[in-house]
Symmetry: C2
């Protein structure tokens, strides 16, 4: 018979106090973009109804980005995801309710201040796997989010808010779109993240103003030639400069 | 004779392990704006040449914002400063060099992951005081920053970078400027934070486009009437909405 979550946590606690920094945890929000939909990588702990973000702890001698990447590999199988720390979730009682039936003194029952990380990935490149604590690991559409444990929905919402704000000063799309794409395809990515329709003319002017796109000589050949849409690709040099210094349009 | 920093840290360590969350610290970057200059609130620990940010630890039952505010009051005398958590500083060896001559096992010598907070305040409203660990607490001009201990200069630079990025989607100036101000005065605030000159016409158009200002009926009466500059004030309702939802101009 399989171990219950309580048994697994009890066993984990025996070594965790020596291996990890107490009171510090990490929760990861990995967004995946594919075929004009936005998804997020969620797991379900054993014996639990509610879903959670893939999370874990920081080894005593580990950098926090290393920790976040190790946690994602262990808990979801997602490799080479560039994660960015974006906020801290520190409410005193954020996990009290969840662990109320667990023994006192267990590692997982202490007060944790969680470092939130987020990332955008191509979800076709991730093959979700589960670890011993989980029963499920799946990509879930952000328009069909299930009820989540503890403050994980807040962490997810904050990550999405952060991503939306970043659209105002950071470029986005490289690694998410094919090498060559049309302006409507790029606009669709923005609309999905912002969850609202954008004006086509404004989007075009603003995006051209950012000066991070190269227009291809040949349009995409499909259907009637006079309707063939122009193709663009990111100018990687300009894109990288914009990532670092902010988009041209800002102050 | 006064206690040395080493003696003070040793005494502090006797109770700190029971009172605070291990491995977690807070560092505060408080910017002050006055008379068209930008300053930052710095302290100098006893027996130290280098300056530092006002920082401290989180009590076991304390929220992180409470902790940041308590630390600022205790270490600088600054009250009612709205602090915002903006990043995490977690390098494994960030304090190793500083504490190499201190005894092992001291509270202050453990690995700390520091939560960075920043704020903008009216520096005339703060009367710097020092605590028992410090020899100095002062406002320092950001163009004349001294050498700082550990990674405190990085934390300060990151806070300034964050503030600059936020200018692209958040309003700024309320509580920093007088109730009524001219467009050049508002532009000066932006230029100080961005550390660059802005085009007057562009600034005017962009700022009016944000729709957060009310123009006063009467211009400021000084010198010749035909040159009297227009006065503006923030429309508090619109300002607050923009603070929460972002500026109109964004995506």
């Amino acid at each position: 018979m399989e171990n219950t979550l309580k048994e697994l946590v009890k066993e984990f606690s025996q070594t965790a106090w020596n291996e990890y920094l107490p009171h510090l945890s990490i929760d990861c929000v990995v967004f995946g973009y594919n075929a004009a939909t936005m998804k997020v990588l969620l797991v379900k702990l054993k014996d639990q109804e509610l879903w959670s973000l893939p999370g874990g702890y920081i080894r005593k001698e580990e950098d926090i980005k290393e920790a976040a990447n190790r946690i994602l590999i262990d808990r979801t199988g997602a490799h080479d995801i560039y994660l960015q720390q974006f906020s801290v979730f520190a409410d005193k009682n954020r996990s009290e309710e969840f662990f109320k039936d667990f023994e006192d003194g267990l590692w997982n029952k202490q007060r944790f201040i969680s470092l939130g990380f987020y990332a955008l990935a191509d979800y076709e490149k991730v093959n979700p796997v589960i670890d011993i604590f989980s029963s499920t690991c799946e990509w879930i559409d952000i328009n069909e989010l299930p009820v989540m444990m503890m403050d994980h929905r807040t962490i997810l919402d904050q990550a999405l808010l952060k991503l939306r704000k970043e659209l105002n000063y950071k470029p986005i799309g490289y690694n998410l779109l094919p090498d060559e794409f049309t302006m409507p395809e790029l606009q669709r990515l923005y609309e999905i993240i912002l969850d609202k329709k954008l004006n086509r003319g404004n989007f075009y002017r603003k995006m051209i103003g950012y000066d991070i796109l190269d227009k291809m000589d040949e349009p995409r050949m499909e259907g009637k030639a006079h309707k063939a849409p122009n193709l663009y690709r990111f100018n990687i040099e300009k894109y990288k400069i914009a990532l670092q210094d902010g988009l041209k349009e800002g102050w």
